[in-house]
Every structure is written in C-alpha cells, then in structure tokens.
Amino acid sequence: MDHRTLEPNHYTSSDSDSKSSSLNSKLGPESVSSGKASYSMTKSPCSSSSTSNDNIANAATFDHKFRNKNSTLDGNGTVRPDDPPLLPGEKVQGVAREVTYLCPYSGPTRGVLSVTNYKIHFRSMDRDTPYVIEVPLGVVSRVEKVGGQSLSRGENSYGIELFCKDMRNLRFGHKQENHSRRNVFEKLQQYAFPLSHKLPLFAFECTESFPENGWLVYEPIAEFKRMGVPNEMWKISKINEHYEFCDSYPAILAVPAQATDDELRQVGAFRSRGRIPVLSWIHPESQATISRSSQPLVGVGGKRCREDERYIQLIMDGNAQSHKLFIMDARPSANAIANKAKGGGYESEDTYQNAEVIFLDIHNIHVMRESLRKLKELCFPTIDESKWLSGLESTYWLKHIKCILAGAGRITDKVENHKTSVLVHCSDGWDRTAQLTALAMLLLDPYYRTIKGFEVLIEKEWLSFGHKFQQRIGHGDDHHSDADRSPVFLQFIDCVWQITKMFAHAFEFNELFLITILDHLYSCRFGTFLFNSERERIQEGCVKQRTTSLWSMINSHLEFYKNPFYHHVPHSLDPVPTMRYMKLWKSLYCRWNPSMRPQEPIYVRNRELLAMKEQLENKVEDKKRDTKMRTSRTTTTTPTRLTSPMHV
C-alpha cells in the first residue's frame, strides 16, 4: 500500500486562520495522500477517517495558531516574508537556503531552513503543496555533521543529522559548495544546547502571555486542605521552609502530628538525602494514607534508628482501621539488597513492628533508558510488520509499563480495599516512587482525573518532590549520553494513557492533553519542567516570575483537552495489569510516520452526541426549574472535596 506522502506535523500556513475547532482542522495537504482522498474530503469530519491526521495535531498545531496570533498582536515590525512564524521573544538566528530535508517517508524535498532561539523551521519550496517541519530545539538531544569532504557521495550525503528525544531523527542535506552548513550547525549547537554555551533557556526569553496563570494551579496548603489535612493525626510542618532540612523536598510538608522537629531531624539523618516519610495522600473515609520517602540508611551492618521506627509507627497509628503498614519498595529485591553495600537498603520486618515490606520489582533508570532506545529502533522510521509483536516484546517497554501499573494497583488495593496505609520508596524516592504514588493517587482520587487535578498531581508528586527533570531530560545541555537521563516521566504518562484506555470515561482530559504535556516536557518553552527541585526553581530560577507555566497555555484553551466521554466516576479504578491489555501508544511513539494515523472520528461523533445531550439536559433543567418555582425553594447541594481548591 502506498504511504501517504505528507508529513503529519507539516502544515500549510493557510490553516493558521482556522478557528478553534482544531480537532477538525486540516493539518496538511491531505489531498495528496491518495487518489481516494479526492472526494473523501468533501464530507463532514465525523463521517470519514480521512480527517484523522488532525489527531496527530499535537501541541504544535495549536501553538502555531497562538503564535501567529501573538506575533501579529505583538506587532513585530521586522517580520520578513521568509521568516517562520515566531513566538513573542523568539528571534531568527540563522537561515540556510537550498537545503534538502530527507524525509524518511516521502523522500527528499528542497527548501529553506531557519534556526531560531526556540526551534528549527524548514519550509519546502519545490512541492506543489508546500509543507513545513518544525521542531523545538529542546527536543534535540544530539546534532551531528554527516558526510565529510572525502566521503561525500550522492547529492544529499553532506549535511546535518538531528537526533531527537521524541522518537525521531531529522536529516538535512546541504550543498557543500555554498558553505551553508557551518552557520546552521553552529547556531544549532548554541540554541539546542544553550546551557552548554552560557545562553539562557528559551523559557526565559519567551514573552508570550495567556489569560490564565498556571503558576496558581498548585497551592500546597490548599491541596492539603482539600484532603482534610491538618487533622488530628497529621500536621503541616514548615521545617523545610527554607529548604535547609532537605533541599530536594518541597517547603511545605505534612507529617504525623506527634512528630517533633527534633525527631524529624533524626529521621532525616537515617533516610537517604534526608527525604523522610511524608504524607502524599489520605483516604477521605478510612484515613489510610500513602506516604513517600527515600530508602533507610540501613547498610550492611543493619543499622537501626529508634526515631525512624517510632516515626513509622506514628504513620501506622494515623489510621485507626488497620494495625499494619505496607512498605512498598519499588525496586527488585536484589537491587534493594545490593544497596545495603552502599549504606542504603530497606526496612527490616524485625525492627519495624507490624510493617510488611513488598518489593515491586521495577527496574532502574538505566534499564528504562535502554528499553526506550530499543523502542525507538523498532518504531522509527518504519515498522517491520513481520516481527512487530515479538519485536515489541523484546524492547520490554510495555513490560516495564505493566510492572509500574501493577505496583500502583497494589498500593491502591491496600489503601482502598484493605484500608491499610502504605509507605512507598525506592532508593532516593524521586523516580519510581513518584511514578507509583502519582499513579496510585490517580486511581484512588477522582479529583486527579480532572484536567486541573492532574496538573496539581504533577506539580505535587513530581515537581515539588524533586523529580530531577533537568537531569532526566537534560534540558539545554549537550551531554547526550549522560547516564542520568531517563524516560521516567514519559513512563508515567504512558501508564496514565494505558489507564485512560481501560477507563476511557473516567478522565476529564484527552490524549492530546497528555501528548501536549510530553511535547513541552522537552520544548523548554515553559518554565514548568525546568530545574531539578522546588528549591532550584524558586531560589535559582525564579521561574514563576521569569517564565510562563505550561498550565497557563493549557488552561487558556481547555476545550482542546477535554474528553467528550468524561463522566465523573467517584470511586477508585482497578486496572488489570496484564500484557494482554498493554498497548503501544502509537499516536505518540509512531506519530511521525504518516501511515500511522490514529483514527478517532468517534471523538467528534461523541461531541455531537454530547451537544444533543446537553440540549436535552437543558430542557430537563428548565422543566425542573419550572416545578421548583411552583413549589418551595430548595437549597443547592454543596460540592465537597472533589472540587478544585484553587478558586475558593
């Protein structure tokens, strides 16, 4: 079968004026896709699959629109006709003409390549339907020159290759004789890796603004209040107000009410990097809790710490329903044991009375990085259909995803069905622990399944608790083989996606929301995922003052990210963690392949159905109001903790 000849993320500039119903907007020159398309385009978007390319309409499409709007609003007077659309604060740094983009799907095409301080922009000139390729430089992990002087054979062998963090590589051919490569290469090096060249990340240069302020989404005290904390058993502690107690923890912590600051300090001395067990979530009815920490510093000698033991007892006592505590160690037991050699380890059931240690068998960041590398090999640029399933299995990617989900499911089960509190840790408690607590909370608490709730969840469990985004992603630095890089957060989002596939109606957000988060995890356009900890973000980066939050953009255009199937489900979700249900997220990992279009006209159809339903509901409401008017006035019910605390 023919492959479609368009690039999914190439769009004509003509779509920039289309209105907000972007899921229906055309992403590109659809009509070139195949002979069949000629009349498939004449119909309403929901009746044909051929509009489905727009679902790949990732953030880039929307960005594009905002940007155009913004740049005109901005009145940037120096825009030349050749210039790519620019964000406020974005500047063209270098342009090369007669560059060939070597598309792995539709072959070479010639055009103009521009490098800005935010992105690389290529516009083809030699095709009937011009297309554009645009990649934020934050996505680039490595830039290489290809085709030396002696080697250059063939027309396009001399040029530049970009290796990206989002499962693709891009290759450009330059003409050797016009020396266009050197300038582009230099600019790429500088602006793809600004931190290695003493330049600021783009988020600090970008001046765009949105009606919503995403920095206000998460307010720790309000979030604790939503959960009913402080209460008899838990208090808010300001021991880390100036990040002196633990520099990778947030300023505001919830700890057992009876624990004194002195005790906290002693517990801190016994936990790796001072990351003591603190409250993540509390069950509104049973008071069973999820706490998180780093590993105890047990070591080979089996060191004990009375204060730590007592402190764990306090966590257990916080829940009157159970006299037991589960300590979920995310690691494989072999790794946990091996950690003793370096002074770490895990709690002994002999010294921690009534605690049961369970190993969740999740592998470390290096295993995960390797797994993703294999997955990219499998998915990009094309798929070997004859060995697709076994190839997928051999990457272990889905097995890891399943394992994390299974771990989160066990935590959920203990808290929800056994009313027992759980303490989660791995080694440092900022990678696997964050995955597990965040997923368990997502399964347990419907609030986190809303758009704003999910933003809070990321702000809380990932950002405030010091998942090292800077190190794991490697924003703006050129150490592409850094052993600290790892797709830990990507795995979390993948797990969330798997759950949304199992419980499609339980989430307020859609797939685009998740993909947008991942796109801007790398893009460096927003301050949200910069730096390694709350302390760095506040004390070194001043991100709230100097950058824009990703949530500002998302919350200003919520309609793009809403799931038309959403129904508020008040109870916990119980996914079945089996390989039989694990799916490869093709609309993320394989989205660069034009034959990989996801097909969800069902979305559109459901929107129509919802609109119908709304009309009906309005009618019902009208009638109800009528009857109410006739009878006496009744009070409205007050929504309880499930509503967002932010706008109280």
Binding site: S49, V367, S371, L389, R410, D428, M502
Partner: protein, 636 residues
Amino acid sequence: MKVSRMSFKSYVDLDESDQKLNSSADESFCEQLTPKILPGEMLIAEAQSVLLFTPTTSQKTGKSGVLTVTNFRLSFVTSEEKPAEELCYQENLLLGEYDICLSNVDTLYLLSGDKKRRLLPGQRVPERVKVLFVLCKNMKVLTFSFKFSPVGHGKTLTNALLHHAFPRRHQLLFAYDYREPYFKYNQKVISFRDPEEWRKEMERTGCKGWRLTYQNQRFQLSSSLPEFFVVGKEVTDSQINIAAQHFRCNRPPLWCWSTKSGAALVRMADIVSTVPDRKQENAMLESVRKSHPRKTPPSVIDLAKDLPLPKDLSLSYFRLRELCVPDSSRQFWVQDNHFFTLLENCKWLLYVSTCLIKSAEAADLLHKDVSVVLQETDGRDMCCVISSLTVLLLDPYFRTLNGFQSLIQKEWVIMGHPFCTRLRHIYTNEEENQQSPIFLLFLDCVWQLLQQFPTQFQFSETYLTTLWDATHISLFDTFLFDCERDRIFAVKDPNNPLILRNVWDWGEMYPDKDIELFYNPFYNRPENFELSAPLDVQPNVSDMQLWSQCYFRFVPLLELIGGGKPMIDLAARAALSIENGSFDIVAFSKHIGSFYPFTHWRTNTKVPPLLINSSLNLSNIDTLLDTQSVITVTDF
C-alpha cells in the same frame, strides 16, 4: 455483591480432601431443578448435585445445581438467585445462563487430579467421572464436578453428552426436532433465494453488463451454487453450461457487486486440474471484460497465494484459543510473560491483516474503475471473506445492520460457504475433519474495521460476537448447511421436512433490550450512500488489535469492572435516548464490566499479587543491571 447460599468458595483442594468438603453443599441440593424445555426437546440424561466452577479459579469457587443433557443443549440449572444488577446482561430466550447448545461443544475432557484426558465419541466412559471439562467452539469453557453427585450420575451424563454432542447425521440436529411454529417476520434481510431479489440488488448497484441466469435450477449445473446467479451479459446459457464444467465445483465467474461506474466484483473457482488448457477460463474472463462499460480487462486476484488454507487457519485458531482459555490462573500469568510473542506465533492477527490487505487491494482497484475477479480453489471460503470485506469498504449500505445481514446471506449462505463442514456441526473422524473458523476470521476483520471506523457501522461489536455465538446454535438453518441444495432437500424431505428459521429474526433468541445493543450508538448514517468514500483501512499487523470482547470474555481475570468500551457505549446510548435522559452512569459503573453484556462470572477473582510481579523476567537486561546499576549508579 449478594452472597447466595448456592455458591461456594473452597480453600481446600476438592480433589484430595474428601472429608474436608463444604458440608453445606449436600444440604443445598434438596430442591428439584429442571431446565426449561422447548417444544420438541427431550431430556436425555440428568446429574444431580453438580458443581460448576468459575473459570481460572483452580476449582475453588463456583455454583451448584443440576446438569442435564437434552437433544438440544447441555443445561446447568442452579437455584441461586441472580444479583439484580446482572439482569441487564445478555439473556438468551432459548438457552439459560449456563446452558450451551450441543453444537457448540468442541471437545470433552475428563480431569482427574492433574491429568486431563480427552474423550472421543465412541469411546467408553470410565465408571467414575470426577470432573468434566467442556471446551466450546466459541472458547467458552465449563468445568463440572460430580463429586457430590449420586453414584453413576457423572458417567450417565458424560455418556449422553458424548453421544449427542457429536451427531454423525445431519437429521440428528435439533432443527429437525424443534416443534415451535414459525412466523417469519424479518423481511428486511434479503435472502437472495428469489430472482426478484437479485434483480433489485443489480438495480441498486446500477450494474449494467450483467444478467440473471436460471441455469442452475434444481441444481443441475452446480450443487454448491444457488438456483439463480448473475453472469456477464455477453455469455449465453449454453456457454455457461460448458464453461462451468471446467471449474472446480462447477463454479464459473459469478457477479457480486458493481460500482456506479460499472466495474464489477466477481468471484470464481480454480480451473479443474485435469483440464489441460485455460481456454474456458480465458473465455470467461473475456466475458467479464466485455461486461465493463469501457471494456477494461479485469484484474484477477489469486486468493490461494497469500491467504491461509482452511487447515492453517484452523491451527491458528487453536493456538489463539490456548491463549484465551487458560487452564488456570497460573498458566494465564505464565503466558502473560510472553504474550506478544505467543500471539505472533499463532498468526491469527497476521491472517486478519492479510485478509484486509487483499480486500483493500481489491477495493482500490474497483475504486479506480477496474473490475476484480477473486479466484480461489473452490471459491467457497476466502472468496466469501474477501468479497464481503471488499464491498464493506466500498458500499455503506452493507454497513447498516440489514445490509450486513443481507451481505452474509448473499456472499456466504447462498453462495455455498460450507458452514456445516467448517463449523463441524456433523462429527467426522479427525482425518476427515475440515473444521475451520473462516467465518470468524471474517467477523474479526469486520471488527477491526469497526475499531478503525467507529462511526461507519450501524452494528456494534456485541452484535458481531453474538453472531459468532449464533453460528453454534443448531436451531436456525442459516449456518447449518454446506449449500443451498442441501437446505432445499432438507425442506423437501417427505419423512421429516425441516422448517426453515433464519437467524436474522433475532427476536426469536433475544429480548428487545439485547437487540438494542446490536446497534452502534456512534453510527453516523451518511446522508447519501452513493457519495460515500471508500474506507481507507490500515491493514498492517501493527494496526491490528485482539478482539477482547469475543476472545477474553470467558476469562473472569480479565474483566475490568466499571471499565472498557461498554461504559462509553452506554453513555452514548443514554445521550441518544430521550427517555433515559437521566441515565446514571455512576451507578452502572459498579456493576458493568468490560465484557458487558457477556460475562456472568463476576465473583471475586482478584489477581494473586505475587504472580503479577514474578512475571517480569528480564533475562538479557539483568546483565546490564549488574554492570551499570550496582556499581556506578546512585539510584537503583
């Protein structure tokens, strides 16, 4: 969930501990329980105090009741009350909740301890039957224990089942005994038994260069073809008569469908191997060319080349079934470890993908105004699959429920797909067995289309699954015969004339609330069928999914409570239905699982936690772990 006194949960091994058994079991067998009997149905054997185990629970939970064999069904009746929320599950008016039609029985096994012995018809049943394991053609499994039954009940019942579930003559099927009067009322499905119906279909598609021939009246020409079929206008009846003899099963090129511009879809058999030249074949293909308004030569697609033979498909299905019907939860999790590789090895998805690739190829040619001739050995298996799929891609009429049913009637039933042989309604020796789930392969392909084009089909996946189940019910004639001739002969048999009941009268088998679920709530009916574009299917293996509703529904372990497609489906139904404007999805979500409306096994079947994690086996990654993580890295 309501705990009823008739269900049990055992924490001891029923097989080994005779003394420790749940004593309440004995007391609960006091009531007389009898299955509902249809007119013409006869009770053959009965066993009292039988336990029916919940699948994959290692025979630890289940229900107790009375097991009977009739000439129609294997029936299990329990006095246990159904929890109220299960009333919304699919209800079969002919079969009880735990009943299966005898035609659905695929294999019987006797279990004793860890031993599993297959029982073949004609074999002696041992004196003492402890556990009987029934594997069905639609992947359902039933495990019965006669531990508490009176002596001899197990043997008598097993004997009766072995004898009646594998009939050697067609006249032994229940359709011949059923005495309920029949009033046909579904007139919307076109049977294609009447020449007028063919004419209408030709008119609907606007086909020009073709005509109806009566050459096969009284099946003189071909035993597997209908009495009327459509051939090229240029061909005379005598030419047809001569040419037919050169084709296997005497099946010359037959018209299936035409595009508006006149390209035709044609199906035919291979030329008989004893015929030295292909002269007659060429003459026939020439007639296809002449029937094209612009005399464009047709493109012949050889279906024998890339598509599986019935035997290959059958093997593939058995392997797939092994993955979907695990013996125990232990086996389930062991398989889970290598599920993707096992799935790839069974080749099912490859075959589904290949069918879609071929159909897309044919549809593309037709769309480009080229006539397509599908050619296959006898032209009765893959020709049915590919011709129906091709027109489904092109003609939205066939994507309506009645259109789809008419399509099956036309391309499968009338055109002589050997349902009786492929579904093994009649028992043959293993060597002669030609059972093969070709129809299921087709339904799976349609299901894939439904996944890719969820708004393009009027029917739902529940309909497709129900249709597959219906092929194993020996009461309707639709899927009971190898060809139209056999059917007519059965009707005309003076000794015991068969009353035809077609399966399309769904009201015979399901109440309205279940028929309602056959309709896809997301269906977006095109305003104009003729302007509709072909479905641009993605047919690669990597685009295929496993049809979990159909294949996993009998594995309680896999049911997502309050999840899966049914929730979305129900919400959309609620939005569509004005009466149910206040539909409470939240209340539903606690009772409805991802296999709705099918599974009834919703006892507590929580996954044993240890098993989940022990399934991670990273043999070659372990080395990486040792060298990198333990020595050099902080976070591991």
